[in-house]
Assembly symmetry: C2
Homo-oligomer: 326 residues x 2
């Protein structure tokens, strides 16, 4: 992985993916005790940064191979990103989802043009079913984060942050990134290393699912004890990736951890102050920017809002809990 | 009023106001039966386009006059726009609000640096109190829409739409604009006349408060019967402006009217599909784009989302009513 791969991805993404803005609010500065800059990838196509990595991978495929189709295992943002990017390239997409995935997510993925294949979590192996399908149909698997082309695509967020921070006069700052498998975090870290060495990427995770933070702290990969039980489901993964962890270990600052309730608070602030819809897992970096004053360095902080695909009832919960009458 | 004034305003706004993007979603295209392009001014500073007009007026003032301060009558988006733009210019701002304005709006306006002066709707004349204050303190009134510099500022939305639509390959389309006093609608109409003559501005209003639509239809200004009773309070005005109506009459297509419930539906779609927070009055143009298929011409439509300053409970209502489980 190197900066040339990220710049090549930026070239392939240009004109197809959105260059999201860098937003500010005096109200957020006040809460955080420093200037806060927000990179709202919830405004990206399909509502999350995942469309970048998917586009990067699919656009780089051999056209003949791509024509046969792509496949992804996901019930969430990666599924929508792959479905969208495949459709835009005129390529078929098969998305494997657990049979108990919410109907809304299945319907959204189908509406983006993908074929959704369900498997039974209890009785079927996702990998075996996927492998059989891939062989039968000639599909190419698009991994969610442990894939160089995907990391390169997510790294384009870092290229934009480097440029936009410089325009805003910010040369030294922590860049807080919502972290699951580490594709976005490691991609941004690589871009910043090359383009804005005064900016330092730091992963942010939900409490109880802080595998990247603990892995960085100890220097070796450790796993989460469990996979369920956080509202930040979009960024809960078993452990940092084989490709992403070495990059994070070399380049990232210490991880930060926030509670589910702090993430709901950040969602309410994004609603109130920037008119943005953030999902719980997409709001953890903003939560840390607002609420971890003493763990952050410098007079400015940059936080990525990584996605906005949130259930309406969960969003209402954040408003009722944290944006109600004083 | 002419295009040179709008271009001059664009020069003064440059680097201070946000150039909002032009967003699309395949889901919205499906509902509307044509391509839908959204101009999200809810992402503008202070959460609405009003910051443009306020900046345009305040930035053009003589520095000595400006130093004495500015004044506005408003409890809503115009108040926040003026407070913010004044503070950015280092000028004092006094905002006159009715004593029964929601505390959140008063607090937000104060937090943006303005002094809030309350008046009693029953016993005091807003104009008399404002005039006395202005004379005492040497304040300059910034009108919400019947003011050329304000119209010019709002017209910069039209300049951006002209450029962005051309980039998207759209040369002929209706441009639907949430309309209160007509500052935004007339400003956009003037910009489009000069820069994108194939695009036609059309005002959109809440049912029962369709003064601009009826005035355009009859060719003469007519008033609304009442001022209260719509959730789209941000765009309820007694009648089109003296400056704005002649511009709209010369340049705009027929008005469109939507119900409060249709506006709540559009808010839910903006949440689901674009991760945007729209306020009821800011969503009427999107509602018309989605739900008035037969009243719109062409294979593409552009809708301005004019603001996102919505009470959390009202927002939850839109989600519960229109984004709940199928």
């Amino acid at each position: 992985m190197n900066i040339e791969m990220i710049e090549a991805a930026a070239g392939r993404l240009s004109g197809h993916l959105r260059r999201t803005p860098l937003l500010t609010s005096p109200f957020l500065d006040e809460i955080a005790g420093r200037r806060v800059f927000l990179k709202p990838e919830c405004l990206q196509h399909t509502g999350s940064f995942k469309a970048r990595g998917a586009w990067s991978a699919i656009s780089a495929m051999d056209p003949e191979v791509r024509k046969a189709g792509v496949m992804a295992y996901s019930s969430g943002n990666h599924a929508q990103g792959v479905a969208w990017a495949a459709a835009q390239h005129g390529a078929p997409a098969v998305i494997l989802m657990p049979a108990d995935a919410p109907e809304l997510k299945r319907e959204n993925t189908k509406a983006l043009g993908a074929r959704v294949v369900l498997y039974d979590r209890e009785t079927e192996s996702r990998e075996e079913k996927g492998k059989a399908l891939a062989e039968e149909l000639g599909l190419t698997l698009v991994r969610p984060y442990d894939e160089p082309l995907v990391i390169a695509g997510q790294g384009t967020v870092g290229l934009e942050i480097a440029e936009q921070a410089a325009e805003a006069g910010v040369n030294t700052a922590d860049v807080l990134v919502c972290c699951g498998g580490g594709g976005l975090t490691s991609g941004i870290a690589l871009a910043l290393e090359a383009k804005a060495p005064g900016l330092r990427a730091r992963p942010v995770e939900p409490a109880g699912f802080d595998d990247a933070t603990r892995s960085l702290s100890g220097g070796v990969v450790v796993r989460n004890d469990r996979m369920g039980g956080s509202i930040c489901d979009a960024i809960v993964t078993p452990e940092p990736g084989e490709l992403t962890f070495p990059i994070m270990k070399r380049l990232c600052g210490p991880g930060l951890v926030v509670t589910d309730d702090e993430s709901l608070y950040a969602m309410a602030q994004a609603f109130l102050r920037l008119k943005l819809v953030a999902e719980p897992g997409g709001a953890v970096a903003l939560a840390a920017a607002l609420l971890r004053r003493d763990e952050i360095e410098g007079d400015a902080v940059i936080a990525v809002v990584s996605g906005g695909n949130v259930d309406p009832m969960m969003f209402s919960r954040s408003l009722i809990t944290h944006a109600g009458p004083a």
